[in-house]
Symmetry: D2
């Protein structure tokens, strides 16, 4: 009767765990994502091409998604995170909307654009990190010259995997400015000083922009005096002023300086990470792949993949911006790391 | 050139967001999971059949997975959670192992079995909730008469979706008892008293067993004096003594009494929930499905599905055990609910 | 000019730190409080006498304050805590009021009285711990036979030292019952189960009564199977269900069983502690004092005083209820302990 | 017998609560501290005089304590806080020690001195806020020209009231530099960026110096664009990077800009506050006292005293540094405020 029993239990909406056990419980994680590098110089011409032929009215957002070859459908850059390169032209606006997914932009090139986040206009400059946390209204506008390009980071692969995503269009194309421009940054970015009137602690950072000028000052101030991390160099975390933690509950953002000749130790961790090369060139071995990166490139390190960063130059710094799902993985009790 | 451009960008590992936008950002969640009911009387004969024909040496665990028809591969009961019915016979043992996934058992029938969790033997009785949090060694043994059946709840769909799962076999078939039997329960379950020597606060409850005897006393003590929830009746959360929160960082467990004739309001929430009927019979409308349940059945309510519980009896209580991913969804800032 | 300078600076409202330094900064704390024991059999007749001659209309509360000889003015039992013995007679009521100071009662003898706390009537039985956290309305009434006596514990020495105390009389002599009697205890005390409707997490426990019946069950369940503390025996902390911490932000309450023949190690800690002997007899050496205690006695252990508990009996348990300012001292970063 | 009873209970170490009730429970706090102003120009000559006649070998620290006329013994500035003005001359060193009390210095005038805190040399400039949290080794040295004067703030009145204070001399007169000078400030002060290697979250800020240069940049950046507090102006809290909270668990530090002509609303709160005038002049009505302050003055606002700040100038800003015991009062559940 056993074969019949297998058929019968299938009809009852069940399956025998003992035939699936090995697939469901692996000795260690094997990410479907693969180590991968996207070269900015290769992508940029196509971004400009589509900027030319596709209006922002047609494309809600004009973005090339960086699709991990291991994660084509639904498209994602790592298991939980997404990266895209967005371009906007002078005079354009991108429709205001909001979504459960948390997002940020890290500005690559251009000048004169701004994002309006819940009524605050936040201006962009290369190297700035702009936040649009989950369910915050945001639209983009470009009042400068030349194309504006940035890296978009979102957690929608995670939010969609959890089937917890909402989306809503704003009633008008763009929001009106309701507070002074860039006020959140100006109020929160200096000297670890926090406005003490009307405190509104929350899981998301209230800071619209972590400007590159301050990040540069941080590296200048630290100079050669930090020990830093053996694996990640002089690595700084962007923090939420309300609790000192990561900028959003699902995404942590970091900026790292690899000194000339830096050769990191081999490390791996359960969270996945996406890197953007702010400056310099080097190589990262990720499991069995060697990713040789240069300025403005983007690359993905899957969770539990071994990585080792090297700054190829013996005279120039390399600077890597990165973001990870470590806050989510940690909150769920799943963080683990290993240093070789 | 545009078509060529689309081909070229695909070769570069990118895709145009504007062609995917609607699929990636939905107005609200649409779970692939469907509302579904598993009737215990239909499953029980097959469990006993496989207990008869399949040894525990062959099957690491002898469990019928309750596979949601919308989530066949990988198999899951809701998007993030798993339910199975496990059977073990007198004299059997189930191999000691541990995994990143958090787990619990809710005992359905039988007497005389125990689980050893990190060296503590925890004995099972119908209605008991036993915890084996992530990365805790656990094995099962049955020293009583007759088959022992229980509901297994795990978060491996979540852990596997996050690609953060580890698994390890214990060096021997079973663990030795290293502390007095059932000590954790005896130390933590009474009068909200917590042992004050050697405190070890952590994200998981240290309690091996939340015994039914105490749960029954809780309902007796509350009697008709609680207002309860309009949607969920007199619903109590099993808590972690160290922080008052849910028993594990990814899974919350609850027990609810629906008074005779109870008819809940319609509610929905982003977390998904799996119910097990401890006592009584009734019906739950879940979106457009009517799930008519009786004692020992299991049913699934997907995230953001509207549900309404009814106790069909006008003289008998219905008691529903349930578990949900609400702790995870909340920690990630994605909790949302709506009451009609 | 120096002597003139000293006079001049005094007139300007200043003083030379260098003439005070040694008094302000000591090598270690030297409490003004002394180790002290109050024998219940000596106090009881006077409590009954005053119950006889003094009405509750005359005395807002009829309490003998246990005044530490080292802390006469303002009167206190330890530096931050107060203990008193209160008596109330059948038919009496004590005026409803509230104060910033947190309070509890630990019931010593009698039956039939209750406290109404923010509209909930909480009934008293020997061994029960009843809470009236800061700024909660409370009045007492006695509907039984014979006198009712209990230990009052408050933090007003701390609150008054911080000059942060408020007090208010209720508009009427007693509050009306607004919820079912003893509902908080019935909802929160069993099986670590917490009502999941209308959660109201806060720094104070919502439990009106931690009944002795449950405390006794805890000790019975643990039996001889706990290791316990070398200094304090099998010591259990009453906890706040919302966060697993102490019952109030300023006062922690504990109950300890010293096994027959228990002889603790010598320990000291910055918090101060007041003990009440629930059962048995023994002795505690506190610095150079030997406090020989019997059932119902109260004794004080000042902060940073060395103490060592001994259960003199080789056949009977001793049970000590205690309370301390450890939650406050710890929150302020001032906790320190030392075991000899 | 009643009079005898009163005598007898006194001999037993007790007192009748009913004869003390009104003194122990007041309708609202009445601080023994009084509103008071210390004028810097009056104090400065005496500080220089004592610098002249008293060596730092004789005086562990050369400080004029600002003693509140209501709190002469033990001397304190408010109920829980202390303020002093310290002077150190070129070439001097002040002995390394540590104490449980938390401390900071706010630099008033001079240049060329530094404090060594747990092995880090922290250099001082006017307007800088330097921390020496509880139990951190610290010594001072002056390598510049001219006298160096600063405001010392400590919580020893609180720590001593709680009888929880320890003190220890360092084995040598001064500590050696064990890390690069000013490294903590350089690593933590810019752009809300936190070093991500070797995180050591704790209740005290790891920042040795919150430099005036950054504070000035904050005010410049905010300019006229902040709403600010009706009572306290554009008031910013110095924060602990690890948790976003106050710099120490007992002391919160703030800096406020009162715009020209600012006239605050009347407010009171249970914490007490000490102000130091960094710039400008104005007046604060505190209960029935009018404190007319100018640059470098210090004044005390007792807990629950009504205060109203006015910037007398219609063209110049006033800038007030302040510190309070609000973190302690809040942690103990005793915070309360009232705005007229």
């Amino acid at each position: 009767m056993t074969e019949e029993a297998y058929e019968a239990i299938a009809r009852l909406g069940t399956a025998p765990l003992w035939r699936y056990f090995g697939n469901l419980f692996n000795a260690e994680p094997r990410s479907r994502a693969v180590p991968y590098l996207w070269r900015y110089p290769e992508l940029r011409p196509y971004l400009l091409h589509f900027a030319d032929v596709l209006s922002l009215e047609e494309a809600e957002r004009r973005v090339l998604m960086l699709v991990n070859p291991g994660l084509p459908d639904p498209p994602a850059t790592t298991t939980t995170l997404y990266a895209g390169i967005q371009v906007i032209l002078p005079g354009e606006t991108a429709q205001a909307h909001r979504h459960s997914a948390g997002a940020f932009r890290f500005i690559i090139e251009g000048r004169g654009a701004y994002t309006t986040v819940n009524g605050e206009r936040v201006h962009m400059h290369p190297g700035d990190l702009l936040l649009t946390p989950g369910w915050h209204w945001h639209d983009h506008a470009h009042e400068g010259d030349g194309p504006m390009l940035w890296l978009d980071g979102l957690d929608f692969p995670l939010v969609n995997a959890l089937e917890a995503g909402f989306f809503e269009l704003f009633g008008e194309r763009t929001q009106k400015a309701e507070v002074p421009d860039d006020i959140s940054s100006r109020q929160f970015i200096h000297g670890r000083l926090t406005p003490a009137w009307d405190p509104r602690p929350g899981p998301n950072s209230p800071i619209g922009n972590y400007p590159w000028t301050e990040t540069a000052r941080a590296f200048d101030a630290i100079a050669e005096d930090a020990t830093g991390s053996d694996a990640d160099g002089v690595v700084l975390e962007y923090t939420n002023p309300w609790n000192g933690g990561p900028v959003m509950p699902t995404i942590g953002c970091r900026i790292a300086r690899l000194r000339p000749g830096f050769r990191g130790v081999v490390r791996r961790q359960t969270p996945s990470t996406i890197y953007h090369v702010v400056r310099g060139s080097g190589a990262s071995r990720v499991d069995d792949q060697l990713l040789e990166w240069s300025e403005k490139d983007v690359f993905a390190v899957p969770g539990w993949a071994r990585y080792q960063h090297v700054n190829s130059s013996t005279s120039q710094d390399a600077v890597l911006f990165s973001y990870t799902d470590a806050p989510a993985i940690t909150a769920l009790g799943l963080y683990r790391e290993e240093v070789a």
